[in-house]
């Protein structure tokens, strides 16, 4: 009988809090045994170039997660890095140490970590000998749910290619989006990342027996890509991602910036998320003397937004009107969702659009971009705008800055929006796997 293998290499290597892809991968992984009891977790061991047995305990996030009473909570306040940053030591050093001392510290750190890595690598090589290699049998199933070695074709993909020839193993791969191919300009690096991703996708589609798309939009994009590259057609199934929120999040968090009403925008502070449109809408409001509530943008600092960051921070006419928060924990974010007037999501293109779903899960109205997968999430329940049209966005921001209208919309959301649990997503996914 064929066996199902779930690759958790990416989760094992992932540091800290989970984002997009890893969140999906993790939620599917922890439900694997419920759905397919005899399935096996595996990882790619680069030191011996083999796929070996693995278990969930090797994932840092899982260890924090399983030790909590609340199974949805991972408190990153407990991480060493967070404590250092919060203690202010890092900031003080950055601000007051003379340059030569900073250089010296960095050099010592680099030298130390170089030798440290060497020792660690040799130890890992030794310990890898004790791991148990996976011996594939005919028609075994291999699940790839994350970014394998940052979309590299070496390593695990090369082994799977070989196993496909020898044992005809079945490969099921989740595809999150094709944005690096559609919008390579959003990824910098002179298109090198986009090329690597394109190459990965091209090869993985050939290799896979089934593709799982996270939205109908991604499925359509995949079909276009397959057609434009004359790849063989593969079955593509769509799953809906979970958007449940932790019902017990009573964590009290001081939100200093939210004494007054505010609009919330969530998502990595990077060029594709299109915060430039929000800036333009606020500038337009200022020009037309329209009073808008404060805007809080929450997202890790990303790429190709240095100029926008500067504009927002140095625009004295908008002073304190737009606030950007980069290091926000799950608990803080939860409070922000609960306390905001409504949310806005101006992203140019998405594979899914989790912040829209999260907003609705919190019962909050969302103004979202009308492209790609975003209208799939809530259909007519929310309002959409063209992500290149600041005037239209401003009109909606002004319209929804209205207590009565928001209450009415929130009631509609409460009555009509069905939250998708991760259990449901996992059931959908594993049903396709075993089919």
């Amino acid at each position: 009988m064929s066996k199902v293998y779930f690759d958790i290499t990416d989760l094992i290597n992932w540091p800290g809090n989970l984002t997009g892809i890893q969140r999906v991968s993790f939620n599917l992984a922890i439900r694997l045994k419920d759905e397919i009891p005899d399935a096996q977790f595996v990882k790619y061991n680069k030191y011996i170039n083999k796929i070996v047995e693995a278990n969930l305990n090797e994932i840092d996030y899982y260890n924090n997660y399983k030790n909590k009473d609340d199974k949805y909570k991972f408190n990153h306040h407990e991480t060493f890095k967070y404590k250092i940053i919060q203690s202010g030591v890092y900031d003080l050093g950055k601000r007051y140490l003379p340059l030569y001392l900073k250089i010296l510290i960095v050099k010592i750190y680099k030298i130390k970590s170089f030798y440290f890595k060497k020792i660690i690598n040799s130890l890992k090589k030794q310990s890898a000998k004790n791991t148990k290699e996976i011996i594939f049998k005919k028609n075994d199933v291999y699940l790839l749910t994350a970014a394998n070695d940052n979309w590299n074709l070496e390593g695990v993909v090369a082994i799977l290619k070989e196993q496909k020839k020898i044992n005809n193993i079945k490969i099921v791969h989740i595809i999150y989006d094709l944005i690096p191919i559609q919008f390579s300009q959003f990824f910098g690096s002179n298109g090198q990342f986009s090329k690597r991703y394109t190459n990965y996708l091209f090869e993985i589609i050939k290799l896979s027996d089934q593709l799982i798309a996270i939205s109908k939009s991604v499925k359509l994009n995949l079909l276009d890509f397959i057609k434009s590259t004359k790849l063989p057609n593969k079955p593509i199934n769509v799953i809906r991602l979970g958007d449940e929120i932790n019902p017990n999040q009573n964590f009290k968090f001081e939100i200093n910036d939210t004494d007054e009403p505010f609009i919330l925008a969530v998502g990595t502070f990077e060029v594709r998320k299109n915060y430039l449109l929000l800036y333009m809408a606020y500038k337009l409001a200022e020009q037309e003397k329209i009073k808008l509530p404060k805007l809080i943008i929450v997202g890790k600092f990303g790429w190709l937004v240095e100029n926008l960051n500067y504009l927002i921070k140095h625009d004295y006419l908008l002073e304190d009107k737009i606030i950007i928060k980069h290091n926000v924990s799950d608990e803080e974010l939860s409070q922000l969702y609960k306390n905001c007037l409504f949310t806005v999501y101006p992203s140019i293109y998405e594979g899914w659009g989790l912040p829209i779903a999260e907003s609705l899960a919190y019962g909050k109205m969302c103004l979202a971009s009308s492209t790609s997968s975003m209208p799939e999430i809530a259909g007519q329940l929310i309002e959409y705008f063209n992500p290149y049209d600041a005037a239209h966005l401003l009109k909606l921001l002004e319209q929804y800055n209205n207590e009565a209208l928001l209450r009415k919309k929130e009631l509609e959301i409460k009555n009509n929006y069905k939250i998708t649990t991760w259990d449901k997503t996992a059931k959908q996914f594993y049903k396709f796997v075993v089919k």
Partner: protein, 397 residues
């Protein structure tokens, strides 16, 4: 009657010392044929110095320095009224550079017969000195069709018509061209000499070298595209094949041979479309090859592709593909002048991307289909033997 050989001068826009691209090879074969007919023949090419290295230049050629060309480019474009190609600019430049103009006209004075390969260099010549000479118009294409700009089309048509008036007769490659010139002048004498092939000897050294290169690149099966570094050839490839290479398995590739390799490599490196990586991985380049190596590459290929939809390149590659006896997938544009061959089993014609790539895919699973035509009819020897009587008569008339 004097026994003195008549002197014939051929004038073109390139050298023919080491002919590589189609135009050069056609000119070279015409020159050899004129010699065979008993004429004393010389060739003058006029071109930009950076286009051909010294070992490829003829002693009589007019070589324009890059500096002079670029210093005068804007003014020349202004004179012609549009952004023109080198083969239009260079003759205009020669008229304005007395030394070069005199060299050209004085050379022409020493010959009885002047053969213009393509109409462009006709611009540079003093028409008065042509009055008592036999002028032959050697055509490669319907040149005006190869320009997009309306003014350029008009300009090229004017040069073509001027030369047609002076020319005693026209030598064309295809029936299409013949009809075009007859439309311009229904009384004009026209000889159709299709592009053809010089059979190459099979060389064991070349075969082994190519075999080793293919092994090194892990190429088990491949479709061959031989082409020159002509931008429309690249654009044609992108339009007809582009990224549609997903049907190739790990050991199947497209091999591009000839100078197009350089152009493709540069163009793809400059491309912002990340799908260009697919071409970078599935297309292998064999840069400049000698005749034996090229023959070996043809012999070992699964088939030959001619994905050409526009451009001014000669369709000499078509003759070579047909002569090889390999399975061929081509556009109808690539088969201009070879229409009768389109019906044969080893030839598949497709003018859209989907059909073309479907045929390519089929080729990998097909054995070489039997060749039902006489390959000897594709040789230069045959091409000339059919026309030399008429050619001699027209020149001597």
């Amino acid at each position: 009657m004097s026994n003195k050989k008549k002197r014939l001068l051929m004038i073109g826009s390139y050298p023919i010392v080491k002919p590589i691209h189609g135009g050069q090879r056609r000119s070279y074969e015409l020159l050899k044929n004129y010699l065979k007919l008993g004429f004393e023949v010389e060739f003058i090419g006029a071109y930009l110095e950076s286009n051909y290295s010294k070992d490829k230049r003829g002693v009589n050629d007019i070589v324009i320095s890059n500096k002079i060309y670029h210093d005068n480019l804007n003014f020349m474009n202004y004179l012609v009224g549009f952004e023109a190609r080198e083969d239009i600019i260079i003759p205009k430049l020669i008229i304005n550079l007395k030394k070069l103009s005199n060299k050209l006209n004085n050379t022409i004075n020493n010959f009885d017969i002047i053969h213009f390969e393509q109409p462009f260099m006709f611009q540079a010549v003093n028409k008065k000195i042509l009055e008592n000479k036999t002028v032959i118009f050697g055509s490669h294409n319907i040149e005006e069709d190869l320009f997009d700009h309306l003014l350029a089309k008009k300009y090229v048509k004017k040069i073509t018509t001027d030369l047609l008036k002076f020319g005693k007769f026209v030598i064309v490659c295809s029936e299409n061209e013949k009809q075009y010139y007859l439309k311009l002048d229904k009384y004009k004498q026209i000889i159709e000499i299709p592009n053809a092939v010089s059979p190459k000897s099979v060389d064991q050294f070349g075969q082994t070298k190519i075999k080793n290169l293919l092994n090194k690149e892990k190429i088990k099966q491949y479709l061959l595209f031989v082409s020159s570094a002509h931008e429309p050839n690249f654009n044609s490839f992108m339009k007809i094949i582009g990224f549609k290479l997903g049907f190739l398995d790990d050991e199947q590739f497209i091999v591009v041979a000839g100078n197009l390799s350089y152009l493709m490599k540069i163009k793809l490196a400059e491309s912002n479309d990340p799908r260009s990586i697919i071409i970078e991985n599935k297309v292998k380049y064999f840069f400049e090859l000698n005749d034996q190596e090229l023959q070996a590459l043809i012999d070992q290929s699964t088939g030959i592709i001619l994905p050409i939809v526009y451009g001014s390149g000669s369709n000499l590659k078509t003759a070579e593909a047909l002569y090889s006896g390999k399975n061929i997938v081509a556009t109808s544009f690539a088969f201009r002048g070879y229409e009768p061959y389109m019906k044969f089993a080893n030839v598949k014609i497709a003018d859209n991307s989907d059909d073309f790539t479907n045929y390519m895919q089929q080729m990998f699973n097909q054995k070489n289909l039997p060749v039902a035509y006489d390959k000897n009819k594709l040789t230069w020897q045959h091409s000339f033997s059919q026309n030399n009587k008429k050619l001699r008569e027209l020149i001597n008339e």
